[in-house]
Amino acid sequence: MNWFQRLSKTDRMERELDAEIRFHFESQVADKIRAGLTEAEARRATRLEFGGIEQVKEDCRESRGTLWLVSIVQDLRFGARILARSPGFSITAIVVLALGIGVSTLAFSLYNIIALQAIPVRDPATVVRVERRSRENTTPGVPYSSIAYYRESAKSLSAVMATMNAAPMVLNEDEQRVSSTFVSSNYFGELGGSAMIGRLFDFAREDAGSAPVAVLDFRFWQRRFDSDPSIVGKTIRLNGKPATVVGVTPEAFANLGTENADIWLPLLQHSYFVEGSKSLADPKFDGLILMWGRLAPGVSTSRAEQELLALTNHLRKLYPNVIWDHERIVVTPGAHFLSLEEGGPVLALVGLLVFLILAIACANLGGLLMARGAGRQREIQLRFDLGAHRLRVFRQLLTENLLLGLLGSIAALPLSYAVLRLVLVYSNAPAWMSAMPDWRVLLFTAAMGFVAALVFGLLPTLQMVRRKKERFLWHQLVVCAQVGASCALLILAGLLVRATLHTLYSDPGFGYEQVLSIDPGMSEHGFTSSSAQVYLEKLQNRLQAVPGVTSVSVAMNPPLVNKEVMITGIDVGGRRIMIYPNWVGPEFFETMRIPLLWGRSFRAGEKNAVILSESLARKRWPTEDPIGKQWKGGKDIVVGVVGNTRAMEMNNTDETEIYYPPTADILPEMSVLIKTVGDPNTLSPVIKSIAGSIDPKLFPTITPLTAGFRKNVSEVEQIATIICLLGSIAIFLAVVGLLGLVSYAVAQRTREIAIRLALGANRAEVFSGVLRRFAWPVLLGLVAGVAITVSLSQILRRGLYGISGLDPISYVGAIAILIAILAAAALLPIHRAFQLDISRILHSE
């Protein structure tokens, strides 16, 4: 019998123990009667011999070795009774804890889903991502020729998969573009899962020469085809190319590396769907094809890296220009939604916010426990007087706290579950993501409850047991922690709200209304620089002739359109300056309404010239005239300085941009920008027909810059909303906690207050005396909160969209709000104290 069985059978063992001892007792009595005593005498004698029956039993329990467990059960039962006796305190404590723990559980659950949990594919532990690295270069992609070589040669990988996201494609005659992902034919087979209807790609059937096929994603099939089961076998047209739908993915299919596309296509048929594409044939083309592998049984990632490195050195002989110097291959676990490297700073910020909330909740719990300790002084004294050991009372109180922590954790789980479900639904998360807590989340939540109860319950409990009357220091620490954490959160909330307003209502430095970006997607279709130049010239000329178009230009990075942003940097006087580069045509500044401040714009066909934004020019040459200077000491001469913009990233507060004229090799990457009078969207059909007449195999993506602007703004708004929510939780917690603390301070001094009032003291004076105790800790807390935020402001700077991390309005506002709330929290108990019946209090003791 192990201890658990023994414990679970406690009741039975107790009954048996009782019966056994009683049998002994009765036998002894019977023997004595037989020896001639009367029954009464026999019983009396036996009882004397026995000493204490209960003592015998207790010794037996102890020798069974389960006593400590039994007594913990007793403690828990007792604790539950105590908590049930004061439901007001218990419910407040549990709500406070549930909020604090719930927020951290929510954050951890999200982190768990995207980074810790393996996505639901077959044998996720062996799925790996394969990337190239060198000292100078990092790229997510691997050239297809290399992938093919690794697939043939690598023994450490039992399978090699490849995926490539394509530019949005035109489906039939739809206005709305669809997203598509090209995957290797073994992709679905390797990841497991069978088709919802029809079939998925088949390694044996799909290759470059076979009939073009497509697989629909479950959600797209629901949305676009109304879950029509007869879609299998029908023909759809993508970018005008017919393909047969062979099946629909299962609802819970999990894509590697990113969210699911609308349509899946065989990678080997890429050049069919994207006419002119050299993605598979050109060994230099590597930006878009991602490589995945499955480790052979028993192979570790480092062994796979070693083998792939050896193969790479062999590949260098085949493609000397493609393989970098010192290139190495990095193999990382692939079956996670997000790799840890990607979200570092964001995770740190979220972690900090969550920690602040939890700290506030815990400080509150500490305050509440302390206030309650004052009320329980008599009870605890009584227990000591009855001979309880100090350790035993301490353990009992600690058990109570842990019980609270446990209840808080239990209450936190449904809270976090509900919010997480909402988040997943609203963010349109992949179907396999479940809000249901797994063992990691449960463990985390339990640990949080445990830590919260232990850390912040320990000190007040110790002080209760030590029967110290004055808990001044701890008291002040609690207030300090609480005010500090609340203050930091409120300032952060203020900063982010102000940042949102700033993004919405300030000038980004360029005119984005009435500008359309047209991305022809030439590089994907295998355009060379000369064919691209011809195409761009034709397109620009035709567009200029369209009525309503006032300005046309080319640009490598159309503002607000691309998700990825290029950043380079230079060192000026030992400091690194981040720079946003762009390659633009001469008319770019006119099209984007960016003012030319000094010098001139580019001339057509000009080389070795650069134009700087004002702030970059100032940073590089603070005192000198930048015009005519050599950029980075090279051939490029500064010919002009233009106004600052936040064109690349709305949150770029540096506004350090550099513009180059387009070079021949990047012409296939270029987009065209047009400025219009009136609604630019009405021009879409005209633009499409012009593009179609110049080259029918291209399907340009037309994006109004306002759409990109709105998307940027809504992202900021979402972050600000979350922070505001956290901020209001913090305020709520702070109010509850301070209410408790002030009530406690008043309650502790009720007698003293009453005496002073009875002796005719001024009420205001009396209460300001009580409140003065809080002045210093509040002040210290405010200082600490400000210090925390200031030290964070550097991390925050990029997220703050043009607001300084030291924005005085946010700081002053947060402090003012906090003080107002503190004052309100203090007034309630004091108001209650005003109603005190002085004579009754003085008579009560």
């Binding site: 056994e20 002994h24 036998s27 011999e49 000493g51 003592q55 015998v56 037996c60 020798s63 069974r64």
Partner: protein
């Protein structure tokens, strides 16, 4: 009290005596006390306060198992029985006890006053 033991049992000896008594036949706690008293010709009186904790300790160590059964008078009592492990324990404990008494006796019987 009237039933003080006539002398103190050395530490651990009670366990050995219990194992010895139980080894004869399954027996309940009261009978164990009775038998020890009887066999020792009243020299040893085992108190309940030591007997039952010892029984539970031995049961916990798996030297004894207990089951409920009727006594000769028809009442239900908890009968203890020796396990295989208990039997081995009894054997080793008996041997070491014999060895100990032998050694102790050897020393005690050594003629006094003579250098060794």
């Amino acid at each position: 009290m009237t039933t003080q033991p006539k002398f103190d049992l050395p530490q651990g000896t009670l366990d050995l005596l219990i194992l010895r008594i139980v080894a004869l036949a399954p027996v309940h706690g009261y009978a164990i006390a009775q038998r020890i008293q009887m066999i020792s010709k009243e020299a040893l009186q085992i108190q309940q306060g030591s007997l039952y904790p010892a029984l539970h300790r031995l049961e916990n160590k798996n030297f004894l198992v207990a089951e409920w059964g009727p006594t000769e008078t028809g009442r239900e009592a908890k009968f203890y029985r020796l396990t295989a492990k208990g039997r081995t324990q009894l054997k080793t404990e008996t041997q070491s006890w014999e060895r100990l008494t032998e050694v102790v006796a050897m020393i005690l019987q050594h003629p006094l006053g003579e250098p060794s």
